[in-house]
């Protein structure tokens, strides 16, 4: 399928649209012909709407889809492009092989809604190759909505290249429902003066297992990058965060910032910063805070009348917002 509107009025579309609402997105946007969107259920493309300057192709694979998204050089998309990936049955596999090309000087924002509301044994794999051209800007927000069973495996991998003066900003958010297993692996290669900001927010519960690896390769001079993770772990959930930065370009700057909150005696968290300076003029820094919620924050809210439980919930909600 290429540019143009194709709509599947199936119940799957409606169910996915409903799940999008639960991720804080707008179901109406998926039906709006003036807003670009791609809706995929397992390996079926239920809807695809491209706009001038934006090309989107999607072809089915036996266990998923292959998608190509391209924004023409100089194109500035005024509204976010909505991407919706989901598996509605209790079991299934969805593999997304995606390429994104943002042409020189272009600007585009993507909102990806990933819904697995009934998952008991669902695997969602993504392999993405992203190219952000010189002076271009790409923002990618991915919000997940999972069911309560903890039966989802989410395995996203992305290699991102940001060329001279380009910008890449991403936010990955999995705070609704059970995580299940999450193994996220993002690597960003930054050219001269390029900027990247990677943010991940995850709320683990029950027996959830979370592995995050986010890496900045600051290759060009004056490249800048920030990796920021916020993880809250309840019950027996476990998380392992690895933040990497390699300072290759002169005057490049990288910062790794990790906060992991343990909200339960049996939760476990670790954070591993890996910093490698290749050029002596590069500067890399990191900070990590792992532990329970700061007592002063809780008591400040309690002094305003909240109970301790309400104060904890308020701090967690803010952290994962």
């Amino acid at each position: 399928m290429r540019d143009g509107v194709e709509r599947d009025p199936s119940r799957e579309f409606a169910a996915l649209a409903e799940a999008v609402e639960r991720t804080g997105g707008s179901a109406a946007a998926l039906r709006n012909p003036r807003i670009a969107s791609l809706v995929v259920h397992q390996n079926r493309v239920l809807g695809l709407n491209a706009l001038p300057g934006l090309t989107m192709d999607a072809e089915p694979l036996p266990d998923g889809i292959r998608a190509h998204v391209e924004v023409a050089p100089g194109t500035v998309l005024p509204d976010p492009v909505h991407l919706c990936f989901g598996v509605l049955p209790k079991e299934g596999v969805q593999r997304i092989l995606a390429t994104f090309r943002i042409g020189e000087g272009a600007s585009a924002q993507f909102w990806a809604h990933c819904a697995f509301p009934n998952a008991e044994r669902v695997q969602h794999l993504m392999e993405a190759s992203i190219e952000v051209g010189g002076g271009a800007r790409m923002a990618y927000t991915e919000v997940h909505y999972h069911g309560p069973y903890g039966g989802t495996e989410v395995l996203p991998k992305a290699v991102i290249r940001v060329h001279k003066g380009g910008q890449y900003v991403s936010e990955f958010k999995l705070v609704q429902g059970r995580v299940g297993l999450l193994s996220l692996d993002y690597v960003v290669h930054l050219g001269e003066g390029a900027v990247a900001e990677l943010v991940a927010k995850v709320h683990g519960k029950g027996e959830d297992r979370i592995f995050l690896r986010e890496a900045l390769h600051l290759e060009g001079p004056y490249a800048r990058g920030l990796v920021k993770s916020r993880i809250v772990l309840q019950d027996r959930a476990q998380a392992e965060f690895t933040g990497e930065a390699v300072g290759i370009g002169p005057y490049s700057r990288g910062h790794i910032d990790c906060t992991e909150i343990l909200w339960g005696a049996e939760a476990r968290a670790s954070a591993v910063p890996k910093l490698l300076v290749v050029d002596e003029r590069a500067k890399l820094t990191h900070e990590a805070a792992i532990g329970s919620i700061d007592r002063k924050e809780l008591e400040t809210l309690m002094a305003r009348g909240l109970t301790e439980e309400e104060a904890v919930a308020t701090v967690v909600r803010g952290l994962l917002r």
Binding site: R230, D294, E299, A303, G305, L306, V315, G318, L319, L320
Partner: protein, 252 residues
């Protein structure tokens, strides 16, 4: 005026060391009562103990609020009775907006003015601040003003203000004092902790805290004079004698 707060023989220890060593104090309902003392004399410890913060549970003594013994009550219970604290160095919160914070305070207390009004009173234009988060991007002075706005939003019976003047530029001190007077006029009793004499002078009464004890309580000018004279005397004495002076003065 009726007594709102009474502290009897309060002893608070931190890491095996007594910080408050038998504080006795009575605060009348409707007054601004300054607690004056040099750095390290236990002023913040007193504020934290009155709010019931963890790590500041009294080893001895008791705290009475409106005639009720609150020594064993939790922070939340004290807040719901009408006590609140503005921290000297307020906490920062990621993702919590100024509006949300002030709404929490407003709901948790006696429903003070609207949050917009609270911010305006402390000199922060609401449209510029309500949407901002209480994170490190607010300056220390801005965060202190938001803390004061949260107290206004609670409209408490007793506000414990721990050095509301620190981190505030000198030109704004009069404005901050006017905010405190305003909350007092609207029915909040204020325990104003400070080491700044000019700030203490604006209170109705004052007490001088030194070495973990209240050495003198009375008219502000008199206590300020005592503080200045006594502290100069203290500074010239070796440490063991300092404690003796404190005890002697306390018995006067």
């Amino acid at each position: 005026m009726a007594e709102l707060l009474r502290i009897e023989g309060l002893v608070v220890e931190r890491e095996g060391r007594a910080i408050l060593r038998g504080v006795d104090l009575a605060v009348a309902e409707g007054e601004i009562h300054a607690i004056l003392g040099a750095n390290g004399t236990g002023k913040s410890t007193l504020a934290h103990a009155l709010m019931g913060l963890s790590g500041y549970r009294p080893a001895r003594g008791r705290i009475l609020f409106a005639g009720q013994d609150i020594t064993e009550k939790s922070v939340t219970e004290r807040a719901r009775l009408g006590i609140t604290l503005a921290w000297q160095q307020p906490a920062s919160f990621e993702g919590l907006t100024v509006r949300e914070y002030l709404e929490i305070a407003r709901r948790g207390g006696r429903e003070g003015p609207a949050v917009e009004e609270c911010l305006a009173r402390v000199g922060l234009p609401p449209r510029n601040y309500l949407g901002r988060t209480l994170n490190d991007r607010l300056s220390g002075g801005e965060r202190k003003r938001v803390e004061l706005a949260a107290v206004l939003a609670m409209n408490p019976r007793l506000a414990i203000l721990d050095e509301p003047d620190s981190g505030i530029d000198v030109l704004s001190l009069d404005d901050i004092m006017e905010v405190i007077r305003g909350m007092n006029r609207r029915g909040t009793t204020v325990l104003l902790i400070t080491h700044r004499e000019e700030f203490a002078r604006a209170a109705h009464r004052a007490s001088h805290l030194c070495g973990g004890r209240i050495l003198k309580t009375g008219d502000c000018a008199e206590v300020v004079r005592f503080y200045k004279d006594f502290c100069k005397e203290c500074a010239s004495l070796p440490a063991p004698e300092l404690e003796e002076v404190g005890q002697d003065e306390g018995r006067r």
